[in-house]
Amino acid sequence: MRFIVPIKQVPETNAVRMDEETGTMVREGVESIINPLDLYAIEIAIRLREQHGGEVISISMGPANAEKAIREAIAMGCDSGVLITDKAFAGSDTWATSYVLAAAIRRIGDPGLIICGERATDGDTGQVGPGIASFLDLPLATYVGKVEHVDNDVCRVRRLIESGYEVLETDMPAVLTVVKEVADPRLPTLRGKQKARKVEVPAWGADDLDTDPNRLGLKGSPTRVVKIFRPQVTRQCRKVTAVDEESIGPAVDELVEFLRQRELI
């Protein structure tokens, strides 16, 4: 079975700094990593391949250096990868991103399961996985916390929702978006790293994909970012110290009074 895992390269969020003047992100010197939630998608895809045979192909749309993310995915155990990169894709919103990734998956052909991380830690939209499913007209299961069964005809998963979990059965092929609970990602192996260094990662541009040039990048994106700004810090923390016996009582009283004033108790 062919497992396709779309991944995204994101800035390491712990390292993100903000330019106080412009309110924009300082990307210089910030390390790029595979979106942490995509690691769960890669892991479950590799495990399913180990059980059922086949191949895992990771794909990533981004700038040329997103090739690094593909190689990391191969080091973890993916069989191959494709970088999808073109100036024409710059400025894509989730609609235009899903459009191009869907076109790339069509070109790869014959998907069994397409497995995505539930969302990326930078954009944080969670819209691209469902978007790919919609463009490819495939069934979709989101928030997957466990893959219970897969064969050529059907896939049974647990979908985590607010009140518990649903057991869903979907026809194949299908798109899954997975959450952390689905599998613990493994570390790259030495053999994987060696393979990742040597393997050829093809780069596909707009001309390699069957797409309408008017629907690519910023031009093809329905949404526009009007402005980016820093959240106003509106909270003033009333901080009391209660490090000894005598101060605990008054601190607790003050907190309870505070909660009462805010009508929280």
Binding site: T24, Q127, A133, L140, V179, P222, V226, I228, L264
Partner: protein, 332 residues
Amino acid sequence: MEHRGVWIVGEQSEGRVQRISHELLTRGRELADKRETDLTAVVLGNDIDADDLQGLIDRGADRVLTMEAPELEHFLVEPYTACMMQLIERHRPEIIIAGATSTGRTLMPYLAIRADAGLTADCTVLDIEPETGNLLQTRPAIGGNILATIKTPEYRPQMATVRPRSTRPAEPQPGRGGEIDRQTAPKELLGSRVRRVDFVPDESEHGLAEADVVVSVGRGIKKGENVTVVEPLAESLDAALGASRDAVDRGWMSYPHQVGLSGQTVSPKLYVAVGVSGSIQHLAGMQTAETIVAINNDPEAQIFRVADFGIVGDLFEIVPAIAEKLREAAED
């Protein structure tokens, strides 16, 4: 035909309209008034409670549209998308907002592709740009470090999801008039390649995302057995239990309790962080809470940056003292 009107996508469970629908009415009414247009509540389901549908009118909708069929009892993305598409093609709304729930965050992106519409996830502020009438959608990104305002200038409808609990539910105003249009969903729209074969409710009393109060534990509780330290506090506040990623990775709490970037986003009225240091990832999942209380022995902990009230000290002493005090207060 021009696109006009504001829609909210309500949610139902076992035929009863859910709270998120009323929160969306608060948002939708404001937008419809600014746009000088009508507000429609759309609900898909089966045999939906008639009083609840009238309740949507009472709470601000000018019109209620339903599509009903046994196949729509539970959310399934394909028939829900097909029904929504038919309604959109028939009525051509200008704006559609839904909850950023597991349903909304699945339906809306699948639907936006079909509807050729712009979609913005997880908005915290929605407004109308006066000059153009465009919907202005503001949302946190990069783990809550920035806010971005987004619009959809040329494509219609304009679609957005908003976080549950980020607005108060609209209050009923009895005597409001409105049209309720209930339709049986046509068979040809009900096909689904996904089947819901079972449902297992969460063993804990209330789900994290829906809770008014959340008490979360972090690495500061030192070991899994110590979750019992916060239980009396959670009980007296009628709170759901949350956890930081650290606490979940160590196996002290299960994943459905995880708050933060790789877990759930919550916006309760009150969030109490116990021994949670406050990594960016955690803050991203809870900083929209109305009131935040933090208890931590490190006065420099990041969690105090977003807290309204903080106690610096030993949680093992302080938390039981708070629980005790609350119990006394409740008895008074």
